[in-house]
């Protein structure tokens, strides 16, 4: 080897110019293995459309080995498996399955599955199926944005007349159009006594048809003195199903207005129906208020029976209170309906094993929603007036490595990437392989010209899986830099080009690029344990001028 070098140097001296190619191969993190192994067809080669898989799933594109080729006990025929995509086969073609009894429509249903379950199948997407077109179903004082068949079914189930309106085309408008029946005091004679029931006009009219003594007083409460009934104010309150507020009850057990302790003896408050908006502290949650029962679910309270230990104060009257629905979590208070991110250890640095989580506070209860594993989803949080809203969003890192300009790299509409500047840039850039990237051939390369494009949130890889793609993906960070030396007359060498690759800064920035690609390079895991590869690998190799074609290579 030394002899060869001496011969080379002699040759160079004769020409007075000696070029020495130094290959600096940085293999950051793991050992390099060819990426070819990580690219290939799904196990089993050709994809089949399995009518049913061995595991029991219907209509799946899968290798033949996974197809169930047994006999369907229901039809006595063999389950089909055809070397084609399910979409192109009639029995597994996707469409809409209509439940004509319930009036519901299920999307993305194969014909075979719909038929098996005795549904009506249509090959059209749900938006184009007439039976699935939605309208506003007004039923009693409720509204639902459903199909016409569903509206009829609801009418049958609840024993109420319905009004299906096709002119209302969205759910919000539909819900707002629901109007409650007029309510009031329905006064009647019972056992030689004038009594009263607080109810709807419709129900009172029904009572009138069988009893001539019945009178309806719209907007009046049964406790109104002018009605002359045996019902009067009381010190009782109640919660009503489907309503948030605490209500007073009169002495006959009828509903009165929203609980307001300051008006417990106000006869005017016990005579007419007051709108909730005109009741005490409207627009506030009134959580844990001893005096006001105007609870609001969306503002964080709802009517519940008072519980010592759970509610902070006892109501002044009755036994019901606006329960505070906020949550306590890790010493902090979160409002009802608030969502926030609380990620695992190391997620801020996207360390191997770290994961994002969204937390949800509802009804005083915190639920944890993990985002997708391998950091394929990340939790993002925003805040408006101190109210946090979070969501697990897809981490679009897949095509970062194929972006070679900062502008394309940081186009947040297309991808979640960041540009990492490489210290000591070269005009020609560094050729890097792009193996593994979607839609890129194994011979394509990317130039890190002044920097590289890497995921903003490095994804996790199944690096423990020998059939996985971790090694191939991490190899993207492998770079080949050609450094040219000129030999002086005295035998000394001076760097002519690519000299920046010899600096520590270049090595550090390349290492940063590597670790930002995913679970690559030298890292601690999320619990602080060092990976088994704790050094970046740099290999130097001398090459002849002729051998150096200028292209990149993978080592």
């Amino acid at each position: 080897m030394d002899e060869i070098k001496l011969i080379k140097k002699d040759l160079v001296r004769k020409k007075l110019i000696v070029q020495k190619n130094l290959f600096i191969i940085i293999v950051l993190g793991v050992l390099l293995i060819g990426l070819v192994n990580s690219i290939g067809l799904p196990t089993g080669g050709v994809s089949y459309c399995c009518e049913k898989t061995v595991a029991g799933a219907w209509c799946q594109n899968s290798p033949k080995d996974n197809c169930n080729i047994g006999i369907d006990p229901k039809t006595n025929s063999v389950f089909r498996a055809v070397a084609s995509n399910c979409e192109s086969l009639s029995y597994c073609k996707m469409g809409t399955c209509i439940n004509s009894q319930e009036g519901t429509c299920m999307e993305n249903t194969p014909q075979r599955v719909c038929d098996e379950n005795k549904g009506v199948w249509s090959e059209k997407p749900v938006d184009e199926v007439p039976q699935c077109s939605l309208g506003c179903c007004l039923i009693g004082d409720q509204a639902a944005f459903v199909t016409q068949t569903r509206c009829k079914r609801l009418s049958l189930l609840y024993g109420l007349e319905t009004n299906f309106r096709t002119d209302i085309s969205n759910e919000v408008q539909c819900v707002l159009s629901a109007s409650s029946d007029a309510k009031g005091a329905c006064v009647f004679e019972k056992e030689y006594e004038t009594t009263c029931k607080f109810t709807t006009k419709r129900e009172c009219l029904d009572m009138m048809s069988s009893d001539s003594s019945v009178n309806f007083h719209e907007g009046y409460l049964c406790s109104d003195e002018t009605l002359g009934t045996n019902c009067g104010p009381s010190q009782k309150t109640t919660c009503v199903e489907g309503r948030d507020e605490v209500f007073f009850l009169d002495s006959c057990g009828n509903l009165a207005n929203v609980y307001d302790s300051s008006k417990a003896k106000d006869m005017e408050y016990w005579s007419r129906v007051y709108d909730v908006g005109a009741s005490c502290n409207s627009g506030q949650s009134n959580a844990d208020s001893a005096t006001c029962g105007n609870c609001d679910y969306y503002l964080g309270s709802t009517c519940k029976a008072f519980k010592r230990g759970e509610d902070k104060v006892k109501p002044n009257i009755g036994n019901n209170i606006c329960r505070d629905l906020s949550c306590e979590y890790k010493g902090k208070t979160y409002s009802h309906g608030e969502t926030w991110c609380d990620n695992s250890e190391g997620a801020d640095k996207n360390l191997p094993g770290s994961k994002y989580f969204r937390l949800v506070c509802y009804d005083g209860d915190v639920t944890v929603e993990p985002c997708a594993d391998f950091r394929q989803e990340v939790c993002e949080e925003s805040q408006t007036n101190g109210f946090k809203v979070a969501a697990c969003v897809v981490n679009m890192w897949q095509d970062c490595a194929s972006q070679d300009t900062k502008e394309d790299c940081e186009n947040i509409d297309r991808r979640d990437c960041q540009w990492v500047a490489i210290n000591g840039t070269s005009e020609s850039g560094y050729q890097c392989p792009l193996l593994g990237a979607v839609g890129v051939s194994t011979t394509d390369t990317v130039k890190f010209k002044g920097g590289g494009c890497v995921p903003k949130n490095p994804p996790g890889f199944d690096f423990w899986n020998s059939a996985g793609e971790a090694e191939g993906l991490c190899n993207i960070a492998s770079a080949t830099c050609t450094v040219t030396y000129e030999a002086g007359i005295s035998g000394s060498e001076s760097c002519v080009s690519g000299c920046e690759c010899l600096t520590q800064a270049w090595e550090d920035s390349m290492n940063k690029m590597c670790t930002n690609l995913g679970d690559c390079g030298s890292k601690l895991n999320f619990i602080g344990v060092q990976g088994f590869q704790n050094k970046s690998a740099i290999t130097r190799e001398d090459v002849d001028e002729e051998e150096d074609s200028g292209g990149g290579g993978l080592f």
Binding site: I39, M106, E107, T109, E369, P370, G436
Partner: protein, 281 residues
């Protein structure tokens, strides 16, 4: 000296022999009491566990035929509903994911990455109804036989027709109808076209919500849990993503946390890396 010693011995013996009879008697009594006590406890437990069926079997009490059936099969219906609703609507799930040792059926599934799921159970309500019906059918036959025997024991002439069982999920309840005509004749004649057993449950509402979630999964690959909790205040929706890309949904009635509907979906799953080298099945 010797005499004294012997006397003492005799005395000791005498004492011993005198007191031996009452102790043995006492032990016998204790044993007897213990046995009787155990019998009473066992009888009490058995009565507690099987009282309704004992009463029904012996023809005691004055239950109507529907009440008889409710006593006889009500628990089986509740059990079937419980099992099915915890396992994605199936009594014996075929294609499932294991979660906390429970088999949870996939109602929407794709084994591929980057693709939305294929609906596996488009008629969930009917599927659960059929599952519950099949689960209780054997018990139902026995209960109908017991019902007939019970009224015959009371001196009735009983005529019972053949008929199927229908399970219906309805708002806030599950109605099981035994379509067996029943004619009871003693001094007068009572006719029943069918017998109904009603179980209070919110499964109907939960199935509707599950359908909506599944449509979102099939179209967008995900769903937003808070939307449902905003609309249905009685409901808690949990979404738990698994490492293989599956999502487990748990719908729980807040005031009655034992009432749950659990199901799984695998839609728009993201692989580690690009997922070129494999698919799941």
């Amino acid at each position: 000296m010797n005499m004294k010693k012997r006397m003492v011995k005799e005395n000791k013996r005498g004492k011993t022999s005198l007191s031996a009879a009452p102790i043995n008697q006492h032990r016998g009594q204790v044993t007897l009491f213990v046995i009787v006590g155990i019998l009473i406890v066992v009888l009490a437990i058995l009565t507690y566990l099987f009282y309704p069926k004992i009463v029904a079997g012996l023809g005691l009490g004055s239950q109507s035929p529907s009440q008889f059936m409710e006593t006889c099969i009500g628990d089986d219906i509740k059990e079937a509903v419980h099992i099915a609703s915890y396992q994605g609507g199936s009594i014996n799930p075929e294609h499932y994911i294991l979660y906390k040792n429970e088999k949870i059926e996939y109602l929407c599934y794709t084994g591929e990455y980057y693709k939305t799921c294929v609906m596996q159970q488009p008629m969930l309500k009917q599927h659960i109804e059929n599952e519950v019906r099949d689960y209780i059918s054997a018990t139902a036959r026995k209960c109908l036989d017991d019902l007939k025997a019970s009224y015959e024991n009371k001196g009735y002439t009983v005529s019972m027709g053949m008929g199927g069982i229908q399970v219906e999920l309805l708002p806030e309840r599950i109605v099981t109808t035994f379509n067996n005509s029943l004619v009871l004749t003693k001094t007068d004649t009572q006719r029943f076209n069918s017998l109904k057993v009603v179980v209070n449950n919110n499964l109907y509402e939960m199935v509707g919500i599950a359908d909506s979630i599944l449509n979102f999964e099939a179209r967008l690959g995900d769903s937003e849990t808070t939307t449902y909790m905003n609309y249905y205040h009685w409901l808690k929706v949990e979404k738990i993503k698994q490492s293989d890309g599956s999502t487990i949904y748990i719908l729980t009635e807040r005031d009655n946390p034992k009432n749950k509907l659990q199901f799984a979906s695998r839609s728009l799953a993201w692989p580690p890396g690009y997922g070129i080298s494999g698919v799941m099945y």
